[in-house]
Amino acid sequence: MTQAAATEHHEPVENTSTGLNSRKLMMWAFLASDVMFFGVFIATYLVYRGKSLVGPYPSEILDIPLTSVSTFVLLMSSLAMVLALHYVKAGEKNKGTLWILLVVVLGAIFMGFQFYEFREFAHEGLTPRTNIFGTTFFILTGIHGAHVTIGVIWMAFLAYGSHVGSLRSDNSLDLEIAGLYWHFVDIVWIVIFTVIYLISFSDGPPAGVGPTILH
């Protein structure tokens, strides 16, 4: 940025019709798209809640304390993300690198928890093929896990960039855009944690008999 305004306002002035950076605008539009994507998966889960005909049912298998820990880890990664952007913007290279790395590590720990959970569930007899809870649970959390994995890889590249000095305060927008994505994936997990774990943890066998038709 060569405009004088850029140095005055800290935020660079974009040479676009709206004044917003095009890549940042596209990330927001993409997140709107992703809202629909997760929204329909979450709606599917909620519609099918309590419709499993055979076990294991959520009440028999969900481990709320364990997932609370992994949820806490993921939430803390968002805090690390905020601090990383702060230090990269401030030009403090080492602190910036460190906090980006922490985002990577916390994201990876979350994925480790998910891997452990999936394996444990499979061990106890719940797979995507077992019942409708297994189907909706694994596909929804799996899609979310794929988002986290992409985010972790993206952040790892940015951590390397910060380390070698190619990610600096003047192009911290790269990190900011990645951060939008990261925070979004984090927020989606809050919804998933609420609807799958907190709301459904006591769901047992269905009260009715046989499959019911949607109304």
């Binding site: 940025m1 060569t2 405009q3 974009e14 040479n15 676009t16 019709s17 709206t18 004044g19 917003l20 095009s22 890549r23 605008l25 596209m26 539009a29 993409f30 709107a32 798209s33 992703d34 629909m36 994507f37 329909v40 998966f41 599917t44 519609v47 099918y48 419709k51 499993s52 005909l53 995507p128 093929r129 019942n131 409708i132 809870f133 297994g134 189907t135 909706t136 596909i139 899609i143 590249f157 960039g161 070698v164 000095g165 190619s166 990610l167 003047d170 192009n171 790269d174 499959p211 038709i213 949607l214 109304h215």
Partner: protein, 642 residues
């Protein structure tokens, strides 16, 4: 990308030549990508048309056994899928690509490489779906793929897997293109061009893009769920495992109804450009047309269950969706009155584009009216799955979307190529299409009212349906003859060029301000915009007082010309003067360099898709190519340092 110091080892040199096949594979020029979209989707249009003709040949007489029931299922499934996803949507995308940067006074879209990626993924997705013909097991579950008929229990062949994988690949292409055009239209406008000064086609493109970005993920979810049911044995739509087939209908139509407006809004945009030009009047009630388009797009999300009135959702749901469906006819009607108001008192010239646009209004109104009839659940219960519905949606999609697109082809052909399409052949094309179309689909109204069901490969000879079906089949071939005349016209006009000049129709919008065909950098000088229809008022400043007595100048900064790269975000040096059309004399105008990575990345996406149809090795190969494309893309600067 930013000025990363990392560089990839270059496996092959970056494309530089502006001719030859590699220049097309590496192109990021919105005009070339538009041409590619146009050619590929026209080829699929012929394929889908042949499928339709086979269907009509089979139905021309009662108890016909030319085509067996299974092949018939495959034909109508692929006809619908092809026409919706491989013809109307990408033909609209061809217009988006060609026109949006020209209409808003930009040098390219916001993300040129992403634009190329969209096209290549679309191409491979369309090939995946049609590859099913080669395996002899084409999709046979209807373009809506209703569960449980689309599940492995009732449909053990690979056909529906091809269908669902192909649609998911196409969805990626559509979303990427949608995001690109949203950002382009919001961010790349010429200086002074406020949102209510952009051409109406650009507005409809923006609204369509928003719909694409929000609706295609819904289809992606349905696709992923059906795919995992089919490939991995999950239970989303399997009632034995606790799933519910009706859920498929909800999700599919939650996508499917906005999709209808994705198909029609671009054509409405085209017609809204053609009518003012040939009536030599501004569009009547521009803000109403804009807001009606936005209202249609918004309300389109609340009408999906009118496809499901006979499912048994109950009176409350049926009533709600009946009311919302009737309401959505209001903004559509507003547009029709705006078009009539545009014609009223105009100095009308009846050239081919205008003939198609006026026919659009008439045919779309007929299709719209039969649509309102479906809004009533008891009426709909009689019409569900009959030829009445087939008549309805062909009147809106052929009589609406396709006529609009043909209007656009004749209208902008001089801009795309520099020469006119022949007028006499154009009128023959129009007349044959109109006669054939009405002869084909009007009888379907009473066939449907008489109870003839859709998707059945034949009918008994004592039903009294033979003459109407024969008429419909003859109409189908006349319509095809019209398309043939169009193809002849394309070649004839190329052989006998009648040069058009920059502004053959006395146009109103910025694309007519540049040369025909436009130079690679679109505009020698980025135009300054003061008014809506700015080019018109530049030509006829004496009319400004008549239309703009209370208009104020709007301070809208110039749009950036590139997706990224801080090195090019400073104001573009503008070169005035010579326009040799090749950019040779314009070294100061930066255009994004060509790139192979969109093509490579799309190969990776196609490989992933093909992997779900074959085996895990192909998935792994696809993933490797995908990662290669991604890394190469990320590391490649938009512009090589010179």
């Amino acid at each position: 990308m930013t000025t990363k110091s990392l560089t990839m080892p270059q496996l092959f040199p970056r494309p530089k030549s502006s001719t030859g096949i590699w220049s097309w594979i590496g192109t990021v020029d919105h005009k070339r990508i538009g041409t590619l979209y146009g050619i590929v989707s026209f080829i699929w249009f012929i394929v889908g048309g042949i499928e339709a003709l086979l269907i009509r040949t089979q139905l021309a007489s009662a108890e016909n056994d030319l085509i067996d029931p299974e092949t018939f299922n495959q034909l109508f499934t692929m006809h619908g899928t092809t026409m919706v996803f491989l013809v109307i949507m990408p033909l609209s995308a061809a217009f988006f690509n060609w026109l949006i940067p020209l209409q808003i006074g930009a040098r390219d879209v916001a993300f040129p490489r992403l634009n190329a990626l969209s096209f290549w993924i679309f191409l491979f997705g369309s090939l995946i779906i049609n590859a099913s013909w080669i395996t002899g097991n084409a999709p046979n579950g209807g373009w809506f793929g209703y569960a449980p008929n689309s599940g492995t229990t009732f449909n053990p062949g690979m056909g529906m897997t091809y269908w669902v994988v192909g649609l998911n690949v196409l969805g990626v292409a559509s979303i990427a293109a949608g995001l690109n055009f949203i950002v382009t239209i919001l961010n790349m406008r010429a200086p002074g061009m406020g949102m209510f000064k952009i051409p109406i086609f650009t507005w409809m493109t923006l609204i369509t893009s928003v719909l694409i970005v929000l609706a295609m993920p819904v289809l992606a979810v349905a696709g992923i769920q059906l795919m995992s049911d089919r490939v991995y044995g999950t239970h989303f739509f399997n009632s034995l495992g606790g799933g519910d087939p009706v859920m498929w209908q909800h999700i599919f139509w939650l996508f499917g109804h906005p999709e209808v407006y994705i198909l029609i809004l671009p054509a409405m945009g085209i017609v809204s450009e053609v009518l003012p030009t040939f009536a030599r009047k501004p569009l009547f009630g521009y803000p109403f047309v804009v807001f009606a388009g936005a209202a249609i797009a918004f309300m389109g999300w609340f009408v999906w269950s009118h496809h499901m009135f006979t499912v048994g959702l109950g009176p409350a749901a049926n009533t709600a969706f009946s009311i919302s469906t009737m309401l959505i006819a209001v903004p559509t009607g507003v547009k029709i009155f705006n078009w009539l108001g545009t014609l009223w008192g105009g100095n009308i010239r009846l050239n081919t584009p205008m003939l198609f646009s006026i026919s659009f209004i008439a045919m779309f109104t007929i299709g719209g009216l039969s649509g309102v009839m479906h809004a009533s659940p008891p009426t709909d219960a009689q019409q569900q799955d009959t030829y009445f519905v087939v008549a309805h949606f062909h009147y809106v999609l052929v009589g609406g979307a396709l006529l609009g697109i043909f209007s656009g082809i004749y209208f902008w052909w001089p801009k795309f190529t520099g020469y006119f399409l022949n007028e006499k052949l154009g009128i023959a094309n129009w007349a044959l299409m109109m006669i054939g179309f009405n002869l084909q689909f009007a009888p379907m109204h009473w066939l449907g009212m008489d109870g003839m069901p859709r998707r059945i490969y034949t009918y008994a000879d004592n039903m009294g349906w033979e003459s109407s079906n024969l008429a419909a089949s003859i109409g189908g071939f006349i319509l095809a003859l019209g398309i043939l005349v169009f193809m002849i016209n394309v070649f004839y006009s190329k052989m006998n060029k009648v040069m058009a000049g920059n502004d053959p129709w006395d146009g109103r919008t910025l694309e007519w301000a540049t040369t025909s065909p436009p130079p690679v950098h679109d505009f020698d000088e980025i135009p300054q915009v003061k008014y809506r229809d700015d080019f018109w008022f530049q030509k006829y400043p004496e009319t400004i007082a008549e239309y703009h007595h209370d208009d104020h100048d709007q301070a809208v900064p110039s749009g950036a010309q590139f997706d990224d790269g801080d090195d090019v975000q400073e104001a573009l040096p503008v070169v005035s003067g010579s326009s040799d059309g090749h950019g040779d004399g314009h070294s100061a105008i930066h255009l994004p360099d060509m790139s192979y990575y969109p093509f490579i990345l799309s190969l990776g996406v196609a490989g992933l898709g093909a992997g779900f149809l074959t085996n895990n090795t192909v998935i792994a190969v696809g993933a490797v190519v995908l990662v290669w494309g991604l890394i190469g893309w990320a590391m490649e600067p938009v512009n090589d340092p010179e």
